[in-house]
């Protein structure tokens, strides 16, 4: 089977790879680009840990055909930190104990970023809705909700 050439922006950097027909974006990111931040959870759209931003919109990379992102911008957790500094959301997750086993954290952070990019001052209900597609089996969600609200508050006062 012939490989398909694919070019897109990955965390602000142009990448060019060859994918097999039917390859999903998660496999392309992890196995072909080496960005291990998006995780494989369910492969069904139920868990959200593979979440990435495509042109700023939250998508599930495991359900995205890789070649559909040609010419588009894909952001993953790997692109979130600013140089040596953690992103305010990452800082807030650490400060609020929002990560335990950490497997859901990449998806939670991308869902939270998608929310705050559009709504810098979300209500608690907005936050719950924003992470409703992301499953966490450790924290009971409260620390994650608090972390996102803290990051939003911090941003608002800065």
């Amino acid at each position: 089977m012939t490989k398909i050439p694919l070019q897109f922006r990955h965390n602000g950097r142009d990448v060019a790879i060859f994918v097999d027909g039917g390859t999903n974006l998660l496999v392309a990111l992890r196995e072909l680009i080496g960005d291990m931040t998006p995780k494989f959870g369910c492969g069904q759209g139920g868990c959200g840990t593979c979440s990435v931003l495509i042109d700023g919109e939250l998508h599930l990379s495991c359900l995205t055909l890789a070649e559909t992102v040609a010419g588009r911008s894909v952001e993953t957790l790997d692109g979130m930190k600013q140089g040596p500094n953690l992103h305010p959301l990452q800082r807030a997750f650490a400060d609020n104990f929002a990560a335990q086993c950490g497997y859901c954290t990449p998806g939670m952070l991308m869902a939270a970023k998608a929310l705050l990019d559009r709504n810098p001052a979300p209500s608690r209900a907005d936050v719950i809705e924003a992470i409703s597609g992301n499953i966490c089996r450790c924290t009971g969600y409260e620390p994650i909700i608090n972390a996102i609200l803290a990051a939003a508050g911090g941003r608002a006062s800065a």
């Binding site: 027909g21 759209g45 998508h59 599930l60 359900l63 869902a111 409703s132 597609g133 992301n134």
Partner: protein
């Protein structure tokens, strides 16, 4: 296993490719077809896509609205003129699924999904499809009854008439997980009122049969009556008639039969 991906500039070319290849599936938002590939579904060897702008068009300006098959639930939610469809659109998935999942794809979503289609069934939507034979309009009920045979056709758009008021169209989804989760049952009711009496009631149920179905016995109990306590009680007691729910992880067939009348009564009496 690698599959062949065929991308076309317009929908009719894509429909041609779809109708000529039994192992081809049309890729919309990916929440059904990519999921099937991830699960190792070997019956799919070709993926067909179309970049046709017509597939993502929304026409919400007139009394009869039309949604391109590729319109996502996020776009439905962003459209103020589609407020009557916001409750069903919001009841689907989390934000990522709503950014991906499409109106056309939802017509093919098996239980416990396909909630938007329940709303469209109550609204008596028309489905525009294109096959090898050309395009035609199919009433949604007929489309759903023959859903297994629709694999070779491409859905172009869905259209329906806007309900006369927000009271005239009601929707309720019962899920185990809030605000997101598969449907235990889903209910939608279109209740046009003429001279204080219901005229042309359409009640649709999700997860109460292999596909979304109309509750005809409920419709008969409502037709020509005013929506008072006696009518609602009669309608609720007819809720299980003609249904054939099954067991799944979200609920048993028995449980679904037990609760459908309760939720129908709440829907009709306007309770939260």
């Amino acid at each position: 296993m690698a599959v062949t991906v065929k991308t076309f500039a317009n929908a009719s070319e894509a429909a041609g490719a779809l109708s000529s290849d039994r192992s081809a599936r049309y890729l919309g938002g990916g929440t059904l077809v990519m999921r099937a590939l991830n699960e190792g579904d070997v019956s799919i060897s070709t993926i067909v896509r179309a970049r046709d702008q017509a597939l993502t068009r929304i026409d919400a300006s007139s009394p009869r609205i039309t949604l391109g098959a590729g319109v996502t639930f996020a776009r439905v939610l962003a459209e103020r003129d589609l407020a009557f469809l916001h409750a069903p659109a919001r009841s689907i998935g989390g934000p990522a699924v709503r950014n991906m999942g499409t109106v056309g794809g939802n017509l093919f979503a098996p239980n416990p999904y396909g909630d938007f289609t329940v709303a469209l069934l109550a609204l008596d939507a028309t489905i525009a499809v294109q096959g090898g034979f050309g395009s035609r309009d199919i009433p949604i009920e007929e489309f759903l009854q023959g859903r297994e045979r629709q694999a070779g056709t491409l859905v172009l758009s869905v259209s329906c008439t806007r309900p006369a008021s927000s009271e005239a169209f009601r929707y309720r989804k019962i899920a185990r997980i809030k605000p997101k989760g598969g449907s235990v049952i889903t209910l939608a009711a279109h209740l046009p009122v003429s001279g204080g009496r219901i005229a042309g009631a359409r009640i649709a149920l999700g997860s109460m049969a292999p596909t979304q179905i109309r509750a005809r016995a409920v419709e008969r109990a409502l037709e020509g009556r005013s929506l008072d306590a006696a009518t609602i009680a009669a309608a609720a007691s007819a809720a299980t008639e003609g249904t054939s729910p099954s067991d799944n992880a979200l609920g048993s067939a028995w449980y679904r039969r037990e609760i459908v009348g309760v939720h129908l009564r709440r829907l009709l009496s306007g309770q939260e």
